[in-house]
């Protein structure tokens, strides 16, 4: 009899411990903006992957955006004097090239767009128009210099041929919530960022006053979407430029673009060398 009682008590304890464990692991209904994966993914049927990068976008970058120049104003809003390369981790060779900058010469050679290559372009005062060209290509247009960057998702391969002004850009979403295999949240509940890597660039200028970057440059960008409590939205791009030819280390900056209601202020202009 005592053995039976002891066994019953032991079983009761085990059952309670198990129940406690289950209760502690019961997934809670996630609130907006919080992780969606929760626990309990093990054994669940893996969800279908998003059909396209467009449908599975971590954040919505499409729309009209304007650069608000509150940083490095004198180096971005206007062309700084020759030899003004403060803030840039450049080497002696780059200084030599920058000191020889001649805007008139660039214009005469038809090279007015050297400051409008991707590493310099995004720092210029410009508006952006971002749209999906197709399900795997995000199109970023600037009214400054009337340039177009194409951000390619998936297993896109650069075309054969030489370097171009905007180079070849691969893109991927970096989802920042949930667990692998968890269902994709609704678009308004997703958080994450876009990472892009650009190579195949023609030599150009990091600044309009002739501070150079070479064809060996790699541009890595992290695009974050900030939502203000007021409803205002901003894109902040953390930008990393690597250039073994002219930089002593990576050049790291961050840029901001404010969302506009429409494209009424879109004002395309041609490249200018100075």
């Amino acid at each position: 009899m005592s053995r039976v009682n002891f066994a019953i008590a032991t079983a009761l304890l085990i059952a309670l411990v198990a129940a406690q464990s289950v209760m502690a692991q019961t997934p809670q209904t996630p609130a907006r903006g919080q992780g969606q994966g929760g626990r309990g993914g093990r054994g669940a049927t893996p969800p279908e992957p998003p059909p396209t990068p467009r449908a599975g976008a971590a954040i919505d970058l499409t729309g009209n955006w304007v650069s608000v120049i509150t940083e490095d104003w004198r180096w971005r809003m206007v062309t700084p004097p020759k030899g003004d390369y403060v803030s840039l981790p450049i080497n002696a060779e780059a200084k030599k090239v920058a000191d020889a900058w001649d805007a008139a010469k660039d214009t005469a050679a038809g090279d007015q767009c050297k400051a409008y290559g991707a590493p310099g372009l995004m720092r210029l005062p410009t508006r952006l128009r971002i749209s999906w060209q197709d399900d795997t290509t995000l199109r970023v247009e600037t009214d400054a210099g009337t340039q177009t960057r194409l951000l390619h998702f998936g297993d896109w391969k650069p075309p054969a041929g030489g370097p171009t002004r905007q180079g070849n850009t691969t893109a991927q979403w970096e989802m920042r919530q949930g667990r692998r295999g968890a269902p994709l949240p609704a678009p308004e509940q997703r958080f994450g960022n876009l990472k892009t890597v650009t190579t195949g660039l023609m030599p150009g200028y990091l600044r309009k006053n002739g501070v150079p970057f070479s064809e060996k440059t790699t541009l890595t960008e992290y695009w974050d979407l900030l939502r203000q409590p007021t409803g205002e939205q901003w894109i902040v791009i953390t930008t990393v430029v690597e250039d073994p030819t002219y930089l002593t280390r990576t050049w790291i900056t961050s840029l901001n673009f404010k969302k506009e209601a429409n494209g009424s202020k879109w004002d395309p202009s041609m490249c200018e060398a100075s």
Binding site: A9, L12, W73, V78, V86, W234, S254
Partner: protein
């Protein structure tokens, strides 16, 4: 005796079971749920020492902006009037030496940053993110435990009062209760009614902090600034002790300043860089691309650089007044 022991054992087991049964819902819905809710979304770790590389705004953040240079700041006439009277030597008055820069100086100053999470010892949840003070910048704490902001009548401090939430891989914080302070070290102010929305986004070993300062007293529009730091365990985050001393003897009651209209340096930056005076006086309109287009019809860059011309990104101050660059100027950043 043996039966008593067995009965005692039975009673103990039963009581323990009842106690656990009673406590289970409390534990599951209390600590565990709170901890889970608090840590849900914590996909990034912000802890560590972050190095400020000063790859943009070097002049404003390292040696300090020129007197009268308000370019890129969406300020109004009130702010200009305040800044025009400012003399930087005001800062070395003993009673002002230890007034710390406010939290917006994290993205406006030159210093490095150390972030230390405060972890609840029971639940493991992050209760707060402490950004240590350094040199002349106030400590800044972002509370992550869901507490509310204090009454509007509560005291203000240089660090302000901040609460944050995890939003995907980002921390989003709201800061109120700031003391009045300087946005730039040439006297451009923010008021004690200013608030800040802060975004902390980590990408690998980089941390980009965006601060959007809203000031109904001195700004025409919210003022956005970003700074990107690199994780660097070897970086130095200097402490902030301050012992006021007499640096310049002055008669009691003397406060360095200019009276309205008497600051002789307000045109200097415009003249040095061939810019119209209105451009360097700031204002929201001057921060948009259309203002650049307007300037380009008349602007001619100076023929060559005359100030800070050795390049570089370090905290050392390279040449001024067009002196020749010396060996060792503008060392490459580590």
């Amino acid at each position: 005796m043996g039966a008593k022991v067995r009965r005692f054992g039975m009673k103990t087991c039963a009581l323990t079971a009842v106690a656990m049964l009673a406590s289970t819902p409390v534990f599951a819905q209390g600590q565990v749920e709170a901890a889970a809710a608090a840590t849900r979304g914590q996909i990034i770790d912000l802890a560590g020492s972050w190095a400020n590389r000063l790859h943009e705004d070097w002049i404003e953040r390292a040696p300090g902006p020129h007197i009268g240079d308000y370019s890129g700041l969406p300020i109004n006439d009130e702010a200009r009037a305040y800044a025009d009277l400012y003399q930087v030597s005001m800062q070395n008055m003993p009673e002002r030496q230890c007034i710390l820069y406010t939290s917006q100086y994290i993205v406006m100053g030159p210093q490095n940053l150390r972030i230390e999470p405060e972890v609840d010892p029971i639940s493991g949840a992050i209760v707060a993110l402490h950004m240590t003070g350094t040199v002349d910048r106030a400590p800044h704490t972002v509370w992550m435990d869901g507490r509310t902001h204090p009454s509007k009548n509560s005291p203000h401090s240089p660090g302000g009062f901040s609460t944050g939430v995890w939003q995907g891989g980002m921390v989003v914080a709201q800061t109120t209760h700031l003391k009045a302070g300087l946005v730039w070290r040439n006297g451009v102010p923010h008021s004690d009614q200013a608030t800040i929305t802060e975004y902390y986004a980590r990408h690998g070993d980089m941390l980009t902090i965006t601060m959007i300062l809203t000031d109904p007293i001195y700004d025409e529009e919210p003022f956005i600034r970003n700074a990107t730091f690199e994780l660097d365990p070897q970086t130095r985050v200097l402490p902030e002790p301050c012992e006021p001393q007499v640096e310049i003897p002055r008669a009691p009651g003397v406060v360095p300043h200019y009276l309205p209209g008497e600051n002789p340096y307000l045109n200097e930056v415009a003249e040095t860089f061939n810019l119209p005076l209105e451009a360097v006086r700031g204002g929201a309109a001057t921060t948009y691309p259309e203002y650049g287009k307007k300037l380009r019809s008349t602007y001619k860059p100076p023929a060559k650089c005359t100030v800070y011309c050795c390049g570089g990104t370090g905290l050392t101050v390279p040449n001024t007044n067009n002196a020749a660059c010396r060996e060792g100027d503008a060392p490459p950043n580590p």
